[in-house]
Point group: C2
Chain length 254, copies 2
């Protein structure tokens, strides 16, 4: 069956990756400290042969979590793409879990493709911390007005130059991005969630939005602060970068 031997078993596999970022130095491989990408590269290489590098969609920071980050890699295998998730999970630590594996076209690139990204920033807003939530929420005890935060956040919806809401370390050609949806809600356990969807986010953008909304919600800044900060196109005009533990990359729609 020479025919079968000539068949090309090389394929590009897309992974949906969830992780608890608490104990990692972020996504991207770096010399000092263990990263999620490093653990993933090890698992993929162990399964399919040495030296395979994954390409990630979003290089989340140290301490940031994900339910649906995306990574791709190329491998020669006859394993059905959908089974790859199970085989990789056996090789990954408990705090990194592949949620889905699927074949994609060879030219699919997770960072250059058009996407809708969904992030959530969670704040536990009550008198005392909850030890069962402390890894995944930012604890803020001063009373926040989530209704006001939601109104204020609407100034960010749409296409804007988000210079004021990007780290000064951002490396980008343009600070223009589009936020399709942003809403702030409080649940029965006093967790305030800032849910934001957009076509792409600048470095630290969601955490700076969260830090700025907290200033308004706690009464440290007047209503209108967010709109004014946006117009100034100056990082100094917005609020601080909220801590990483509150941030989760929920999903990336392609």
């Amino acid at each position: 069956m020479l025919y079968a031997l000539c068949y090309d078993f090389r394929m590009r596999i897309k992974l949906t990756v969830a992780y608890d970022g608490t104990d990692y130095c972020g996504w991207q491989v770096q010399p000092n400290g263990i990263t999620i990408q490093e653990k993933l590269n090890q698992a993929v290489s162990d399964l399919f042969g040495t030296g395979i590098q994954t390409i990630g969609a979003s290089r989340t920071d140290s301490g940031v979590h994900a339910l649906g980050n995306v990574a791709v890699f190329d491998a020669e295998t006859r394993m059905p793409a959908s089974k790859v998730a199970f085989a990789l999970n056996e090789r990954l630590p408990r705090d990194i879990v592949i949620q889905k594996s699927e074949e994609v076209p060879a030219d699919f690139h997770p960072r250059f493709a058009k996407t809708n990204k969904v992030y959530e920033y969670r704040i536990l807003n009550r008198t005392f911390p909850d030890p069962l939530l402390s890894r995944y929420t930012y604890f803020f005890h001063r009373k926040l007005d989530e209704g006001l935060m939601d109104e204020e956040a609407q100034a960010l919806a749409g296409e804007h130059d988000f210079t004021s809401f990007a780290s000064i370390k951002s490396q980008t050609n343009t600070f223009v991005r589009t936020i399709h949806e942003i809403r702030v809600t409080r649940d029965a356990h006093d967790v305030i969630t800032i849910h934001v969807e957009g076509n792409g986010f600048l470095y630290n953008q969601v955490r700076i939005i969260a830090g700025s909304l907290i200033l308004v919600g706690s009464g440290q800044r007047e209503p209108g602060f967010i709109k004014k900060a946006l117009e100034k196109k100056d990082r100094e005009a917005s609020g601080p970068t909220a801590p990483p533990e509150g941030l989760t990359l929920v999903r990336i729609d392609y």
Copy 2:
């Protein structure tokens, strides 16, 4: 003001204690391994003077969590009882947090007083684990029928001899307990919660109930299994003890 000097500042303080039990060898002080009570005794002694021992309401097992366990201790202090929580939290690790502190009568005993205890056992029931839930849920991938589990669980409501649902290591005069309420529900994230309230629970009772309901919910046992097991008054007649990470002591009402 001799009058003031003679005033008795000794009081009994009741603490509501929340903790992530993952990294502890349970509640009760023991020679091998760090326990929650040990950390609490250290914090109380650091604040009020050496050698103070706390008395806990529920000696939760290794790996079990709490949102509202209860402990009391006696101290001589002029600090308002309500402020004790703040002072202790400064002296406790991040995964143990006092939620409330209040003065109680000197004869109040957290274990001998009449109570309603509320426990929840959580099962993540989907194809892949969620790393943001794995510390606080038991992962079970085989499809569970939560409706059937709820029906089956109703056999446990009321006053019964729970010999079949207690560890053979139980030390007790009577196996008769009353379950006031038990219900099984599934949320949008495929977390199945077994919520149970009662006047007291035997050693491992909630975890054996959970393990037994899982057998029925997954089709490994026929409906009616729980009722029959209860009637047999034999630990061999029920299911396995479900793992500790799924169990949370939610609250104790006095």
